[in-house]
Symmetry: C2
């Protein structure tokens, strides 16, 4: 790895602890991430704050072209037929981009991840040969036209039709209603030349469910093609560099071969054909290949949070307010307990999610890699990605806002970068799957697993199986999960004799929260199913419980990942700091739900009452390592760009 | 009251329930508010979403001039000497403005409330005669130059000096250090011609604490005057229409009479003179006159929340997603329990804060009105204003974000107005006093009261006084407070036999939360004081507890106000809806702190476990009244301006 003088981090100086924490958090990808940081052209990486919509789009396109030329854009998209692209490279590149401007990041995601990804994953050799080279070089800018105005999260109900016309061997793409208008589509308003359009495939009068077809949108000079109507969403709450817009199709015809036909196509004889007979399975298989987008968006949100926390914490280590006894020059912001409580638990959570994201990337690299994977592994990857995307993007919104408030009035000035982050990251909670809907998918997958586990036990005649054993079957398949289970086992016998920083106790609490809430949800689901009457209402009422279960699961998975990350850390001093950081994460999570633990007799009130003080104590313990913790987050100081940190 | 055809609400049609709820929530100011709504020139009231910084400033200034001409700008600033302005009119006008564009609102606040307010409250006849007419007509645009770069919330430590020069009978205004630079000052970067500058007054070498002097900044053509250096904060996270900037003074001289000398001035003989001997008391008296700003900003934040919730709730009453049994066209968003839980508790809280804000305005009108008020009333007003400002502006941030997410991708399009609200209202949590710091003031006032109550009991020899009696002395002085106390008394004997919607039980829980946390804070404060050693650290550790006490107090005050509002409502059907709304507010607040109630044995776990279901049930009960509840919030549909609600 060579650092040039042009690299802004060529001279990055870290504290010893900061460097060690960074290696630990970078985990299995420490080397790749170090190279990315050192070679990323970070000069001019941040969009000037006051560009208008058009100028923002210009800037973003130009910047992405520059990055593509430097090898940082098209990662993950193969430029040859049959290639799968390197999912690992895609995820790591995306997060590097997300450490800087999020419009560039998302435009990269639209072009390479979504548009390129659709061609790669849903298309076959001809599509790869014909289009991937143009995708990679950005000569062919494209859209991922899935969402419709009338059907935000409900992909199965898309109204756009893709009708096969045997007379001319063409497909007719049509938007039959205003609700069928494709909406929020990146690259649609201005730059896109082609779109991967999702719609209902109709062959010989029969519907075969959602498929994807490539439809040219504009000619070489950018003029819209006949039958295509484009709308511009214009100004947005953030991501001004993305030209989101609407697309309507009025009986637009394309050759049959434009159908991305890996999972469903039309024979020369004009008959529908698919390697997957079951339409439901086919639908979820097709959507499943797009999991990379969720992995990347969650990781991108996490990077936005890291950047905001880096700015706010570094500021809090410089800024003094109010003199106090023994501190005539004023107290450093980060020496106020209230300020520590604002920022340090969020830093801890950043580490926790970082550990989980590493595991998610690993799982994706496995499932999408060269080696074969099982359908079960694929489904688990989708659940993990959906849940972690939601958790990380909600967290990003919270963290960026906390960082803004922690910087006071200075945080509100665009020159300090937090306001752009705030605006940009907001929509991460909605796109690539609305978080609330994604959490429902997580809970649904858990319930399915749970049911299957019970059925399996029934079949083998083990009717006396304890719920614990069932829980074990559902939850602990990964090595990290097993490690956590072992920790929990040590605390299970006498939980109230453990200390508040006993990892076994944390593990036990996290497991109990998930297990018990899942079991009771399953029970309530069964009664709802039996109750008859308005089935929708019965399930509808379980909505908040469903969200709780999904969150409890994701928290446990995250803690397991953090424990595994510490286990892999070989530097004893960094390890000690990580242990404290992990305790702060775990205890903050327990504290948020301590009413639940009390209600379910998992904790005494005496113990619950002192959690707050213990969190304060952990903050105090981490306070001397605040700078190192920020360095460990892996965003070089020179990339932060906040004026407040300059003088 | 005459409605012209030009008024966009001339034809506003409300449901009967909506009209009744509006009257109830408008409370004592129902008539004034109805007139304001009907006469406010709401055409063009919303800033075009894509204006750049300069165009936003132009638009905002022009719009404010237009409003001023229509009688909606200068409310509250008298144009004659000796006038106090009408505080009631000021507060009501501010909230009407805040129902539309917040840049206009804040520019009005800077010009009339802060700059005009400083002249009015801190100046004497000559200042009033010389400057108030220009303030009122906006011929003299001005700044309120208090905050310094080095001293955000710490006004007592301001470094700017105002030094009396007897040789020339002038005052020399000087910024001795970079930290003394005035920062975030509205009207500074572009429009201001004069500033009310806060600094340390030095007479004959002696410092007399913070005083305020009027300093001309620019000549008639807008050129900066000698010795004045102006900076431009440029682009911000919102409020682009406000030209915030920095001000530095290099030994700028102004005549002695430019000192706003109501509370401290210089005699013709060159000696310092003040009607208030104690410097501390003088400082707080001067700052205290500025309470109107906090009252207005809190109310403005509340209006932003109302606007966002109005948009999101109306959208949720139109938008369908996912078909379900018996609902082939899809389920209305607001029929999802999860969606109800997102929006309805926030609507309930809007009503609660509305009730409290009415009382706050009433208190301000009394203290700042013609009739004399006591120092105690003034101090209570300041505490109330500080706390309610924090509560309402934090809430505004939460509510606007929830509304954005509840509208999904559409919420992110600027044409739907939520993103501008989000950006604009963000800083409300910081300006006019950082919320965290203001909550410390609230807790401090409560502790002082508590201490005085104990001392009074001690003096009268009542050593056996129960804590309850002390609590009573501290907390229940208002008639609303007494009403709540009576309700609590009915539940106190057998709290666990009450229902979850028993107002007496709510009252008891709110009181217990405040009383107990205040008592334990007082106890911890005493030990901290006794502990010796690092006094700062001992108090610092109580920071989170301090915040909890302040919040508990504000919640109780808010509930008391809501109960009083219902008591005043004469429409039995509206009253019933308000009772349910109040229960939803109260129970949501209890639910958030239910760990605390469990830890302190104020609630059984059995009871705690069913609160969530009870909240769901209340949401279900209010669901048919959702539109009426939105109408009651008092923002006419025609003012919302969201494209999403148009077709």
């Amino acid at each position: 790895m060579t650092l040039t003088d042009q690299s802004p981090i060529a001279h990055e100086r870290l504290t010893t602890m900061g460097a060690a924490l960074r290696v630990a958090l970078d985990g299995p990808y420490a080397a790749q991430r170090a190279v990315a940081r050192a070679t990323f052209p970070a000069e001019g990486a941040l969009r000037p704050v006051d560009l208008d919509v058009e100028a923002s789009r210009d800037w973003t396109l130009a910047r992405l072209q520059e990055l593509q030329a430097a090898g940082f854009g098209s990662a993950g998209v193969p430029d040859r037929a049959g290639g799968h692209g390197d999912p690992l490279e895609a995820a790591l590149t995306f997060e590097t981009l997300a450490a800087c401007d999020l419009s560039v990041t998302i435009k990269s995601g639209v072009q390479f991840g979504l548009f390129g990804g659709a061609i790669m994953n849903l298309g076959t050799d001809w599509h790869h040969d014909a289009f991937l080279p143009g995708v990679t070089t950005m000569e062919l800018l494209g859209c991922f036209a899935m969402t419709e105005l009338g059907h935000g999260s409900d992909v199965a109900s898309l109204e756009t039709t893709i009708t096969y016309l045997p007379e001319t061997d063409e497909l007719e793409v049509h938007s039959p209603t205003p609700g069928a208008t494709k909406a929020y589509i990146g690259n649609a308003a201005r730059d896109g030349r082609m779109a991967a359009v999702f719609g209902q495939l109709v062959v010989d009068g029969e519907r075969h469910g959602v498929h994807t077809v490539l439809v040219p949108l504009r000619d070489e000079r950018g003029a819209t093609l006949p039958g295509v109507t484009v709308g511009d969403h214009g100004h947005k709450g953030g991501l001004l560099g993305i030209d989101n817009g609407t697309l309507r199709f009025d009986r637009v015809r394309v050759p049959r071969r434009m159908l991305l036909d890996k999972y469903g196509g039309i024979t020369d004889e004009g008959a529908y054909t698919s390697p997957i007979a079951d339409p439901g399975r086919r639908f979820f298989t097709m959507l499943g290949t797009l999991v990379r987008g969720r992995v990347c968006v969650g990781g991108g949100g996490a990077m936005a949070a890291r950047r905001a926390l880096s700015i706010a914490t570094r500021h809090a280590l410089r800024r003094r307010q109010f003199a106090a006894p023994g501190r005539p020059d004023g107290v450093l912001l980060l020496d106020y307990v209230v300020h520590q409580r604002r920022l340090l638990p969020l830093l801890a959570r950043s580490y926790a999610f970082g550990a989980a994201q590493n595991q998610l990337i690993e799982a994706m690299a496995h499932v999408q890699g060269e080696d074969p994977s099982t359908e079960r592994e694929q489904r688990e990857l989708e659940t993990f990605a959906a849940g972690l995307k939601s958790m990380q993007t909600w967290f990003a919104n919270t963290a960026v806002q906390a960082a803004r408030e922690a910087c006071g009035g200075a945080g509100y000035l665009s020159e300090n970068e937090l306001t752009a982050l705030r605006g940009d990251v907001d929509i991460f909670a909605t796109f690539e799957g609305d978080n609330t809907v994604l959490m429902q998918l997580v809970a649904k997958a858990l319930l399915t697993d749970y049911k299957q586990a019970w059925s399996a036990l029934d079949r083998t005649g083990v009717v006396q199986a304890t719920t614990r054993a069932v829980g074990g079957m559902v939850m602990e398949r990964t090595s990290a999960g097993l490690m956590l289970e072992r920790l929990a086992a040590t605390a299970r016998r006498r939980p109230d004799e453990t200390t508040l920083v006993d990892r076994g106790w944390h593990a036990l609490m996290f497991e109990e929260r998930e297990r018990h809430s899942l079991e009771s949800l399953a029970r309530r689901m069964r009664s709802a199913a039996k109750s008859g009457g308005d089935g929708f209402e019965a399930f509808n009422r379980l909505g908040p419980h469903v969200q709780f279960v999904a969150r409890a699961h994701m928290e446990r998975v995250t803690l397991a990942a953090f424990v595994a990350l510490i286990d892999a850390c070989e530097d004893p001093e960094a390890r000690a700091v990580l242990e404290t950081t992990c305790s702060l994460y775990a205890l903050s999570s327990i504290a948020e739900d301590r009413a639940w633990f009390l209600e379910h007799s998992r904790m005494t009130t005496a113990r619950s009452k002192v959690i707050g003080d213990q969190i304060d104590a952990l903050c105090r313990e981490l306070r001397p390592h605040a700078l190192a913790l920020v360095e460990g987050l892996g965003i070089p100081e020179a990339w932060l760009g906040a004026a407040i940190l300059r003088d």
